[in-house]
């Protein structure tokens, strides 16, 4: 039997975490972090298969956290989906900040079916083929 996959969900909004966790737990194990620093610690400790990472957080924003994850040889291969409630998506901001494109991003509010589709895409390893 295939072991359950493991996701790290990072957001400072506890309500967003609770709602999203309820959906994700239908397909995988979910660990949560409420800020950038905690996310880096938990990513090191648990080595998740996928990280869902909020962009705007008070201690350290999602771009900075993602940069640190990608700079760490042990975590660089873990795919990261950025989460945002920004109206225009992430591309212009990514370009403005000279950031490489994220593997993927999801706009909040997230629809459960769309969330599961995107997450499954990465967990089943199909993302590399897209």
């Amino acid at each position: 039997m295939t072991p359950r996959r493991h996701i790290l969900l990072v957001d400072d909004d506890r309500d967003f975490i609770e709602a999203t966790r309820a959906v994700l737990e239908s397909i995988c194990d979910v660990d949560v972090a409420y800020g950038g620093g905690e996310a880096l610690d938990k990513a090191h400790a648990a080595r998740p298969d996928l990280i869902l990472l909020d962009v705007i957080m008070p201690d350290e924003d999602g771009f900075a956290v993602r940069e640190k994850l990608k700079a760490d040889p042990q975590l660089a291969a873990v795919p990261v989906i950025l989460l945002t409630s920004l109206p225009d998506g992430l591309s212009p901001m990514n370009q403005a900040r000279g950031m490489p494109q994220a593997e993927d991003y999801l706009e909040k509010p997230v629809r459960p079916a769309e969330l599961l589709r995107r997450v499954n895409k990465f967990l089943s390893g199909k993302a590399q083929d897209d």
Partner: protein, 397 residues
């Protein structure tokens, strides 16, 4: 207390004047004292005096009305403290105050009669030039502060309002999709209504934020080559769900072949989606919305036609105004900003957004026509044209 040139020297309007010039101005000023709550200027009233505050504070206030029928409210748009002036409109036609000024605390000011000061400035052009230059600088600084503050405020509002709404919508979606246990039909109906209302609120916030981003240069900075057929298809996708729910059919008549044009791709999609959304919203159940496109010699023309309630003749001149809601829309949701934003987008394209209602004899319904010029240039092309234009005067159009 006598007004001396020392008291005028450091005031914002006069700090470029020489002692001789200040000595002439001194004779025109009069010290006045006001109590907290006194009104020095009244918006839209004849501007008879210009004030320079020496002590105390004034609150600058403007009347704000959302839509033609909205309540008139007052908003504080600035604070004038010591060394600063209020009532510049006394020096420029039509000599009506553009805001009101109320004392926030006991205030001492030097007041100048506008007629006497204007006469002095026109009789002494070097002094007039310096004072008017100072006013232009102050107006520029105040405008920049206002637009910077608005942009900052909107970025905060945008996130701070969207984040809790997104959290609410997430919960609603999770419950409605069955991830939090079973719900009854009655609960489902109520939650679906809640989700719709939250979605309306999120659209309104998006419209408000958009409204502040609609300066032509902001839109033109996004000009790029794109396939208008793709954008039309995306807009139809945007409204497909709503059309299905109302059993409204969208009939498409494209040109034989779409050629790429230049424009702000995302903004034009916003225009089409807005027009299609309105057409679907106001169509009778089972009705048809026509979406067609054709190339003319110097423009690409899109038309959106519906069989809906139409727009009353008396409302047609106002439908592109900010916050305008037509008489006959009833309880249909909407902020009154969608068409105004669409019109601003078309202005930035030097194009047109036209309305015809009714558009055919014996029919109801509305036709919106979008005209996109085919000679637009991207930012890079404009820069290139400027460089070559500087080498070949007269080549630029």
């Amino acid at each position: 207390m006598a007004i001396t040139i020392e008291r005028l020297r450091y005031l914002d309007l006069f700090n470029e004047l020489t002692d001789v010039e200040l000595a002439q101005i001194v004779q025109l000023g009069r010290e006045e004292a006001y109590r907290e709550g006194d009104v020095l200027l009244t918006e839209d009233a004849p501007a008879e005096k210009l004030f320079i505050v020496e002590q105390g504070k004034l609150s600058l206030e403007k009347k704000i009305q959302l839509g033609r029928r909205g309540a008139v409210r007052t908003a504080t748009v600035g604070i004038v403290g010591p060394g600063k002036s209020a009532g510049w409109s006394a020096l420029t036609p039509p000599h009506l105050y553009t805001s009101s000024a109320v004392c926030l605390e006991p205030t001492r000011a030097i007041a100048f009669e506008s007629q006497a000061l204007l006469r002095h400035l026109s009789d002494n052009p070097p002094v007039g030039y310096k004072v008017m230059t100072a006013i232009a600088g102050l107006a520029r600084a105040r405008y920049k502060t206002a637009t910077d503050t608005l942009a900052y405020f909107l970025s905060i509002v945008s996130h701070e309002l969207r984040a809790p709404l997104a959290a609410i919508e997430n919960y609603l979606n999770v419950i409605l999709d069955g991830f939090a246990g079973e719900i009854s039909d009655k609960q489902r109906r109520m939650l679906e209504r809640s989700a719709l209302r939250v979605n309306d609120l999120r659209s309104l916030i998006g419209d408000l934020v958009d409204l502040a981003r609609m300066r032509p240069e902001q839109i033109q900075a996004d000009f790029e080559w794109f396939d208008p057929g793709e954008v039309g298809t995306e807009s139809i996708e945007d409204v497909r769900l709503a059309a299905g729910e109302r059993n409204v059919r969208i009939k498409v008549e494209p040109p034989p072949k779409f050629e790429k044009i230049i424009g702000a791709r995302r903004r034009l999609r916003q225009v089409f989606t807005n027009l299609l959304t309105n057409a679907v919203k106001f169509s009778p159940p089972g009705g048809t919305v026509m979406f067609r496109a054709r190339y003319e010699l110097d423009a690409l023309v899109f038309e959106v036609e519906d069989e809906g309630i139409g727009i009353l003749p008396q409302d047609q001149p106002h439908i592109f105004d900010d916050f305008f809601r037509a008489e006959n829309v009833g309880e249909a949701p909407g902020s009154g900003l969608g068409l105004s934003i669409a019109h601003k987008i078309m202005d930035a394209h030097e194009g047109q957004l036209l309305v015809t209602s009714p558009y055919a004899e014996g029919k109801t319904g509305t036709r919106f026509t979008v005209v996109i010029p085919r000679n637009l240039q991207t930012l890079e092309m404009r820069r290139g044209a400027q460089i070559s234009g500087s080498e070949q005067p007269g080549e630029l159009t």
